[in-house]
Structures are given as C-alpha cells and as structure tokens.
C-alpha cells in the first residue's frame, strides 16, 4: 500500500500546499474531540432521516452512511483538469447515445462492433429514431473517478441512468459548515449548494417542444422503501417540485397528468428515479406497478420529457465502457483527458483464459451490475471466494468483465485508531440541458477499512465532504 498516491502528503512526507491548513488543524485536534463531532453529525443525520436502506439485511433497515469528518481537498488546478475531462466525456456520452439511436455512424466507421450495440441488453430498440428535446439523453451523469497519481485520473464507471449520491454531497457540506465553521472559513471552498437550482434549470430547459409556458416538473420515485428515497424527497423539496410515485400520474388523451385533490395537473418533465424496465408496463415490464401506463408513447410523441431518457444505459454498459477511448475520440476529435481502465471482456475466449489465470490480481464485475454486489476483488478475496467465483465466471463468462486493481489514492480519514489514510473515489455530477453544468467537487466515497478498495455505501463505505479550492 506504500506506493499509493497520498492526496495530503508528498512522497517525502511533506504536506501538499492545498492541504497545509487542514494538516495543521488536524494536529490540534484530539481523537476525543473528533469522536464527539462525529457523534454530533450522526445524531443530526439520524434526526433528519438522512438514511440509506441496505438490501439483503433482515428487513430493509435504514442505516446511516458513515460520515467522515475530514474533508477531501482539490486544488483549483487539479479541479480544472478534472472538470475538462468530465465535460469532454459527458459530451461524448450524449453524442454516442444520440448516434446509437439514429444513424450509428460510429458502427459504420468501424470504431465499435455492431453486435456490441444491437445485441446489448441495454440497447432499447423502442428508442430508435427518437430525438428528445435538445438531443440530450443523459441529463444527469455521475462519473465514478479514481486517482492514481498527481495528474492521473481513471474513470471506473459512467453512471448515465439514475445516478444517486448528490444529496450526500450536499448534506455532507451542510454538516461540515455546521461542525467546523472556523476550518471551513479558512479555505476558499467553491460553493455547491446551488446544485438543486442548476438541476431545476436543466429540467426546465429540456421541456418538450409541445410545452407552452412554464414547464411543470416532477420527481418520480419508487416510494419510501427505495434505498435512495431520502434523496428523491430532498431534491424535490429543494427544487420546489412535486415528489410523485407512479400511481400519482396517469396518461389521458395523449398527455401526462398528476392526480391532485382538485382537477388533474399536466406534467411536462419527469425526473424519474425508477429504472427503464419499470417505467411503463405497456411498453416494458408488464408486471411493473411503479411506472405509468402509456407514458412511453407520449414520450415518443414529444409531449413529455423523461430524464434521463430511456435507453441511456447503453452508454454506461460495462462492455461499451471498454470502447470509451474510441468513443471520446470519435465524437470530440480529441484524445481523452481521463483514462479508461484496461478491461478484459470475458465473452472473448482469450480474455476469459487470461482472467481465469489471473483472478487473484483482478477485479471482476458483472456487466450490468451496480452497487458493488456480485463482484470479486481478487487481491483481497480469500482462496475460497476466488474458487467459488471461478465457477460462476465459467458458467456465464459473457456476464463479466475484469480489470486490474488500481492503486487508489488515499486521503486522511478518521477511524478507530485515529487519523489514517483510506482509499477514496469521486463521483462528480454533470448536468446537461441547454448547456452543461458541473458542480465543483462531488460525492467522495471512502473505504473505511484499512486496505479495502470497495467504497460502495451498500458495502460499508463512508462519505466525505469534497472541497474544491478557488484560486
């Protein structure tokens, strides 16, 4: 672990300039004091109901995501690089989805194989030929980024469907400003609290062409038992729009309405936090009770905008991921600023052979999985776990991709034994509508266990506030 990039300290142990104030401040803090602050933060989160439901436990219990009180800091120059890389990638992703559902120039140009798209589960034939407002498909993208060196960033995943976590980004900031106002004031931290405003502007800007006047936007949630329900309610509240579930909405005479205590009210933009499959039982999964029957037809007719668009998942598919360098270059004409992790597609016989031989060194993930379920982290797995996974992998190789384990950077984190370096990743949020809006920073996840590389909240990872310093 010694050769991992330490975000606070140089290799010789000296402190990086943008961490100087924090480093000095940490030296004045006692563990007892920090522990008291953590308890204070947790009781605030618990009281406000900022919780995360964890699946697979006895009952879908509500848990707090561990909150680490030591912020992660980016210097302005570091952020400029990241921001340019995110903007480039997000632009390419939307151009790619538009192309996939229209002329498929990228296939014609021979940059990606046709079967990668047409035989992909994430490709949605019903979307072919449809052009949503402003030709934007993935309005909200949360790109998972890890760092391995001073200016070396890798994208692990592009979350183009319904990325979550932005409420933690905002609440972690609130908590830091409340708990450590002095420390906060000593830094020039770029503000993020206007994210809901930016989101609202983005939603308004993609109202369907047939909407005249002020668009009515809603947040569509699966309901209170969903793991991210808190975030759905939070965003609706902050944006000042209605939080609805499927049974609040209905299609009549070719328009979408919500049921109110009085006359029905027309809806123009649906920021949905339910998966494609559940969106419309008439078009997709007929058993779904979460969606709205008939919504897809009026979507295709341009009478409502669905955010993010159905079928946008083709862009964050893990098999498509491995082609991202080609995709970025094809649509932007530039070399990618952010790196892609080398990826073995296990559907390919040679790759599978290599992966089976090197399981102990690799991370193996499901092509369509998310949330850190069903994955193998070779270097930290037991012999038994590796053996079991080998059998699963042999049975359904096409279901998996493998990547080398990266030497994730670490940040100072407050754990039982005191302040110690722990591995982190970053999920910045990019909004695309009439223009692109990227909030400085993002959602930093931290693996609270020593040496662990798994930062998912469903697997016990924690969060940190992320500070982007202004020049």
């Amino acid at each position: 672990m010694g050769d991992n990039f330490n975000e606070m300290l140089e290799a010789d142990g000296s402190v990086r300039p943008h961490y100087a104030i924090l480093h000095k401040w940490l030296e004045t803090q006692t563990p007892a004091n920090l522990r008291a602050k953590i308890r204070e933060a947790e009781s605030i989160f618990r009281r406000l109901g900022i919780t995360f439901a964890v699946y697979g436990t006895e009952e879908a219990s509500e848990r707090l995501i561990p909150f680490d009180i030591i912020p992660r800091i980016f210097a302005a120059s570091e952020w400029r690089l990241l921001e340019a890389g995110i903007a480039q990638r997000v632009g390419a992703l939307n151009a790619f989805i538009d192309d996939v559902y229209h002329r498929q120039e990228i296939v014609r140009a021979g940059k990606v194989p046709a079967e990668l798209i047409l035989q992909n589960e994430a490709y949605m034939p019903q979307m072919a030929g449809h052009s949503p407002a402003r030709n934007v498909y993935s309005h909200i993208i949360g790109t998972d980024i890890v760092r391995v060196g001073a200016n070396e960033f890798y994208v692990l995943e592009d979350n183009c469907r319904t990325p979550s976590g932005v409420s933690y980004m905002l609440e972690d900031r609130e908590a830091m400003m409340f708990l450590f106002p002095d420390l906060f004031a000593k830094h020039r931290v770029a503000p993020i609290e206007h994210y809901p405003e930016l989101l609202r502007q983005t939603l308004d800007s993609v109202a369907p062409p047939q909407c005249d006047g002020e668009p009515t936007c809603v947040v569509l949630s699966p309901g209170i038992y969903n793991s991210a329900f808190f975030e759905h309610a939070f965003l609706a509240d902050e944006m000042g729009v209605q939080l609805v579930t499927g049974d609040d909405l209905f299609v009549q005479d070719g328009w979408l309405y919500m049921r109110t205590t009085r006359a029905p009210v027309r809806v123009d933009v649906v920021y949905r936090r339910i998966d494609d499959d559940f969106l419309d039982p008439l078009t997709f999964n007929p058993a779904s009770t979460l969606g709205v029957p008939g919504i897809f037809d009026i979507y295709r007719a341009g009478r409502v905008t669905i955010v993010n668009a159905p079928g946008a998942g083709i862009a964050d598919d893990k098999a498509v991921y491995s082609f991202m360098p080609e995709i970025v270059e094809f649509y932007t004409g530039e070399k990618p600023i952010l790196n892609n992790v080398p990826t073995w597609r296990c559907s390919d016989a040679d790759s599978l052979a290599y992966v089976l031989e090197h399981l102990e060194e690799l991370v193996v993930k499901e092509v369509h999985g998310s949330g850190g379920y069903g994955m193998l982290v070779g270097p930290t797995a037991s012999k038994k776990e590796v053996a079991a996974f080998r059998q699963i992998l042999k049975k359904r190789p096409a279901n998996y991709i493998a990547q080398p384990t990266l030497a994730l950077s670490s940040c100072p984190t407050f754990v039982k034994s005191g302040v110690a370096p722990r591995h982190v990743d970053l999920r910045p949020f990019a909004l695309t509508g009439d223009r692109m809006r990227i909030t400085p920073g993002g959602f930093t996840r931290v693996a609270m266990k020593q040496g662990s590389l798994v930062v998912n909240s469903s697997q016990g990872g924690g969060t940190k506030d992320t500070w982007v310093l202004e020049d």
């Binding site: 009281r47 406000l48 209170i224 309610a233 939080l243 609805v244 609040d248 205590t261 009210v265």
Partner: protein, 317 residues
C-alpha cells in the same frame, strides 16, 4: 396544488398518531384497574375487555389463546401483525409522513422521526409492570409534541386540514367505540348512587379519554352520574374528545376551510353537516330512549362513510 396521495398520507399520518395515543390511554386505564384489589374489579374488567375496547379481538385471537396481561400488552403495544398496535401505528404514521415529508414542516417531521427511531428498538422486556406507565406517558407526550408541532408550524392550507380530518375522525371513532363497548354500565337503572364497582367503571371510562377531572369541573357532581358521563362524552361542546366537539371541528373548521379554498362541495360535506346537526340537536334522554347502542353504531357507520367520501372526493389513491 396538493397531490391526492399527499392528502391521503397527511390524513393517515395524523390518524395513526391519534390512534397510538388513544391506545396508550386505554392500556393505562386497564393497567390501573389491574392494580386494584379484587372487590373493586368487575368481572368484565379483565384484559379481554381491553382488547374489545381497542377493537383488536380478532388479531389477538389469531396469535394467542389466553388474554393474559403480558399477551395483551404485547399485542397492543408491539405486535406487527396488529395494525393498531402502538408500534405499527407509529410506524404507519411515520411512513406516511416520510412519503410526504416535503409537505411537512421540519418540526413535525422531527417529532415523527425521533419517536419512531426510539420506538423501533423497543423490546417486550422494557414493558414490564414497573416500566409500563413511564412508557405510556412517553407515547402520549410524543403524540402531543407532534400535535403541537402541527398546530404551531403548519401553514393553514388544505394540507393542514386533511391532517386534522384524519385526527378528528379517529378521535370520534375512538370515543364512540369505547362508549359502545361499555354502554351497558351507563344505562339508567333507577335512582341510587350506584355501587362502588359502578363508580369505578364510570371513572375508568372517563380516564380512558383523559376526562375524569374535566368531568368534575363540567358537572360539579360529587359522584358520577351515568347519564352525565354519556352526555359529557357525546354531546358536550367544550370536551375536546366528545363526538360533538370532533364533528364541530371536522365540519365547521376543516371541511369548511377546504371548501373555502377550493370553492367546491362534495357528498362528504353533506354527510359531515348532517352528523354535526344530529349531534347538535340531540338530547341524552332521547338517545337513551331510542337506544344508546343503536345510536353509537349508527354514528360509527356515518363516521366510516365520511372517510370513504373524503377519499373519493379528493382522489386518495
């Protein structure tokens, strides 16, 4: 603009909160009686009559054979199979509040959420005889905190009125049911002060709606008169748990204000006004003559009909 579902959630949130508080009060009375020496206890006053008052006999019978104190308390406080147990009521109230938290003030939400956070960890071992009274007190306090937060911080819009409808329909239902289970002890049977068991029953009845002291102030009787007790709980306009008081609020406050805001009336308005007028014009003698039990059954039916009519008028899902 208010979603039909939001209105429904506000209604049920307040209704289940009210139910939890009423349940706590009912258990408190039974517990008190169980401490009395035998001669002061009528045979009907065992724990099985508590189940009847709480309207939980059926769910209890599904799970237990004998109505021991432990079983009844377990069922009325903790059992998840019982939709009216204090735990389930609080959970339902909180889940409804959580679904519409954008429509709640932060104080209301915190009152709900903090209560549930503590209650969700509650075990039967914390409800032993010595700890039960403090627990029931706590439940009442939490309900009152919720009510106070509602009254003190909620905007007086449609959303507030829907929550009040839930609370007062539940309260009226509760008072009517408790009276109906015990109506036989209130029936007139000539003069005389009544036995000590009678007095004990009347006092318990009043206690179960937190009215035993208010009764003294309202009637200045040295002893309880059964017809006064009935009058107090049904027709007294000043008594906040009487049927008349509840309907005054439902009809003349909540539904009237919604009508003012929306400019529309529905069958629920007619039903509420009709029930209100029936109560306002009634006298106790007449009610006893026509049958107290019949009167109460009819009232409970009307009250249920009102809920259904409100749900249909305002598009509850």
């Amino acid at each position: 603009m208010l979603l039909g579902r939001t209105a429904a959630s506000l209604f049920w949130m307040a209704r289940y909160m009210e139910r939890a508080e009423n349940m706590a009060r009912l258990i408190e009375v039974s517990y008190r009686i169980s401490l009395m020496p035998k001669p002061f206890r009528a045979h009907q006053d065992d724990w099985s009559s508590t189940l009847k008052s709480a309207h939980c006999e059926a769910t209890f019978a599904d799970k237990y054979e004998t109505a021991s104190q432990e079983h009844v308390i377990q069922h009325l406080v903790l059992d998840r199979e019982n939709p009216s147990s204090i735990r389930t009521s609080m959970e339902t109230a909180r889940n409804n509040g959580r679904a519409v938290r954008t429509a709640l003030s932060r104080d209301v939400w915190e009152a709900l959420n903090a209560t549930w956070n503590e209650l969700s960890c509650l075990r039967m071992s914390q409800l032993s005889s010595d700890k039960l009274p403090a627990f029931l007190d706590w439940i009442k306090q939490r309900s009152m905190l919720f009510r106070g937060a509602m009254l003190g911080t909620a905007l007086r819009h449609d959303s507030f009125h829907f929550s009040q409808l839930g609370a007062f329909i539940e309260r009226a239902d509760n008072t009517a049911r408790i009276l109906d289970v015990k109506y036989h002890i209130l029936l007139p049977r000539g003069s005389g002060p009544g036995s000590s068991i009678d007095r004990q029953q009347w006092a318990s009845l009043l206690r179960s709606v937190s009215a035993h002291r208010a009764y003294r102030w309202a009637y200045r009787d040295a002893s309880y008169q059964p017809w006064n007790v009935a009058q107090f709980l049904i027709l007294n306009q000043a008594m906040p748990r009487s049927l008349l008081f509840c309907y005054d609020w439902i009809s003349n406050e909540s539904l009237a204000d919604i009508e003012k805001e929306y400019g529309e009336t529905w069958p629920c308005h007619d039903t509420a006004t009709e029930t209100m007028n029936l109560l306002a014009g009634a006298d106790m003698k007449q009610i006893f003559q026509n049958g107290l039990h019949e009167f109460l059954s009819d009232f409970i039916d009307r009250n249920n009909r009102l809920t259904a009519e409100i749900a249909s008028a305002y598009n509850f899902p």
